[in-house]
Assembly symmetry: C2
Homo-oligomer: 445 residues x 2
């Protein structure tokens, strides 16, 4: 195993140096590019690094900082983009041979917003095929024999390796929280629809745009700048968590969610979470669970089988664009994906509507906890990143947050066998700010 | 004024001949192409006619009918597509110079579904710039000095001129119901989200895919075949109105909605509606209105100002993709549209959320009528198509159905000064089938 990697520097510290004039965005970018040059041959987080485009953007940012007129607090921030997010000037491959070299010629809503905020787009991040399970070449920066998780594989790995402070990711099942956990970075997904998904290939109803970042502050600032400029999905309330996370605040009560993952969790992982919970209790927080609370038990019942239900919902929703792509370019799509597309096509609208109804009921079960608990807490994965690159890992702990369409975070607070493991916090729809107050406190205990 | 045009033949009659083998799809297509050749120089409904592609599709359809194995009941149906709906093999221009010749290389969800159902894509239909107000060259088939209405201008005109039995349109304000009224065809928009909008440029939260057709049956069958194959928007209940409209059924009670349009309506238009209502009353239907029903009065109050509110909602939602297009290709966008994009960018998320709240309250006010009335009824426009091609007409009667996101129909039942005028029926969300039963009865009275 290689020597432990140092934690990446938070962009907030970098920004202070931009402000003071002791660092200019181009220098910062060059340091990032040097890290990429050093680590990318093993980590393989990028599908493309846009050195020249990034340098131009960094120079423009430097001019704004010099003039005392940055476009936003993230002006000059180097950012990576999961490669299912469209860029006008770089290919978007969706991790699929069917899209090799494809460029739609437009920026996704989030990219449009980030460029206007002055962010420096460094490149595109490896994703699994169509953000599903078929893996890309990325390795875990903590141990190249291990998966970085998926589907936001490159996004998590490039942040963990210190190549960029933030990368955008998306999650339909476990695709932000799990790689965050495996790579030891912060993963954040707001309420579904709170960040505009326009120009992101997979428009599944559980899909959510979010961030992988060195610190919660960094990812948060990116979400804020996106929402300010392009809002959420049409018809949805935009992310309103504020420019920065809320100050830490001790939660009165947290609900431990076991989820379907608990029985799969490694003893070391459970033990790590239990010692954290013990510290929280000693600091004055009440932790309730399915054994002591009927409402928590109802929620656990409502999310039992969330993985299977989510898969069926997502299969039905593969009718377009995946079904359309399959009909033109099927030979370039993996057999597993084609099988899922066919399964979805065989489903009836009534099946689908019933699945949506069950999902809505689960969201109600979460909502019913809002008066009683400040947030839910659980592991982000059953253990650290598994060995091997062919499987991106178990998502049983992550699917509930997708199925519930609620805001969720993975914080890199635990370690098992010297490898990172995330603690997951789940909040209530559109109450990201309250969730951040809990997160700040849990991280400091 | 030219001689009155004959009503277009319903596709149901054509299908019976395909079935009997007395007509083959290629012959039917050639008849449509002949009508296009004769009328298109004046009507100007198409941006492109794909004669060869349509002939190939018609021949393939003919082979299926010959083998006794049509892909669906609309196999061989010639269809036009509003030019904001993406096609893999034809340009999609959005009525904008910024997209002249642009082709995204994929089929929109609805197009993907229609091809699989065996429909014959004849070409793309003129739309106003980005389906907004800046008009295209299309003229009204009933009088070339008059507007066909917009934004689904070409879709309505090509059906009215007998060039195709059905064309797809979209509506954010009045863009299906108004051109249907002006051109004397049936306009139908299901509940917002009930037909998959993937691959349609304007993803506004009020936007709805629907049909312009010679008969209600024809448009209905198209909606059914789309929903069967690609469903609705991800997370939405798909259209479930059945393969055909419900049998006609006399409604116990209809609510006359005056809307903001009533005071703008021409005396002849009001009189035409009032005589229809009188016939309905004589046939046993109760008609209530704002003066006799508190619930109707509440709904009228909730939709007063719907045009202004809708415009503001749509402006905020122009942030993407329109804002992104504007930032790259602004010089090719009309000054009016650029101004709306800028207005939207100046709005706050709080403004937008307040507008969504008011719209939700209006939807509740409609829903509150569900136990009391079978449908709402009003005019589709303040009068027949106005003279001139620079203004697509007043949408005050149509915006409520968009704002309420409910299913709505325009039936070509009235005439004023020898020109067509539609009667509008508004139903309850996801209850298209009940609305069709009312429509069938109203059309037969």
């Amino acid at each position: 195993m290689p020597a432990p990697i140092p934690p990446p520097a938070p962009f907030s510290a970098t920004r202070a140096r931009f402000e003071a004039g002791t660092l200019i965005p181009r220098e910062h970018l060059e340091a990032c590019l040097a890290t990429i040059a050093a680590r990318e041959p093993v980590v393989r987080a990028f599908t493309v690094v846009d050195r020249e485009g990034a340098r131009r953007a960094a120079d423009a940012s430097a001019a704004r900082w010099r003039a005392g007129a940055p476009a936003s607090p993230i002006d000059g921030m180097p950012v990576g983009l999961k490669d299912n997010i469209e860029t006008a000037d770089l290919p978007t491959t969706y991790g699929s041979a069917a899209f090799a070299g494809w460029c739609g010629g437009r920026d996704a809503a989030a990219v449009h917003a980030l460029r206007r905020a002055g962010a420096v787009i460094v490149g595109k991040a490896v994703t699994t095929e169509f953000a599903d399970v078929h893996p890309g070449p990325t390795t875990n920066p903590h141990d190249p024999r291990r998966t970085p998780g998926g589907s936001s594989s490159g996004s998590a790995a490039m942040v963990a390796a210190g190549m960029v402070p933030v990368a955008l990711g998306t999650q339909v099942g476990g695709s932000i929280l799990r790689p965050a956990s495996f790579c030891g970075v912060v993963g954040f997904k707001p309420t579904v629809g709170a960040l505009h998904r326009g120009g992101i290939g997979d428009q599944f109803s559980q899909n959510c745009l979010g961030t992988l970042s060195a610190t919660l502050e960094d990812g948060w600032a990116v979400c804020h700048e996106i929402a300010r400029r392009v809002g959420g999905d049409p018809g949805s309330r935009p992310f309103a968590g504020g420019a920065q996370p809320a100050p830490p605040q001790r939660p009165g009560t947290l609900a431990l969610l076991e989820t379907d993952g608990w029985t799969m969790a490694e003893p070391g992982a459970r033990q790590a979470l239990e010692s954290l919970l013990e510290r929280l209790r000693r600091a004055g927080t009440t932790v309730i669970d399915r054994h002591g609370s009927k409402r928590v038990a109802r929620l656990e019942a409502a999310i039992a089988g969330a993985a299977e239900q989510s898969l069926a919902i997502n299969d039905y929703e593969k009718a377009w664009p995946l079904g359309e792509i399959d009909s033109r370019l099927g030979a370039l799509i993996s057999p597993g994906m084609r099988e899922r597309i066919a399964r979805g096509a065989a489903m009836s609208a009534d099946d689908y509507v019933a699945l949506l109804g069950a999902r809505d009921a689960a969201c109600e079960a979460l909502h019913a906890l809002a008066g009683e608990v400040d947030a839910c807490i659980t592991l982000s994965a059953p253990g650290p990143a598994p060995l091997g690159l062919q499987w991106t890992g178990q998502s049983a702990f992550n699917v509930p947050a997708s199925y519930l369409r609620c805001p969720a975070l993975s914080l890199p607070l635990l370690q098992v066998d010297g490898l990172p493991l995330g603690v997951q916090l789940l909040g209530f729809a559109h109450h990201e700010r309250a969730l951040s107050a809990v997160a700040g406190w849990v991280a400091g205990v």
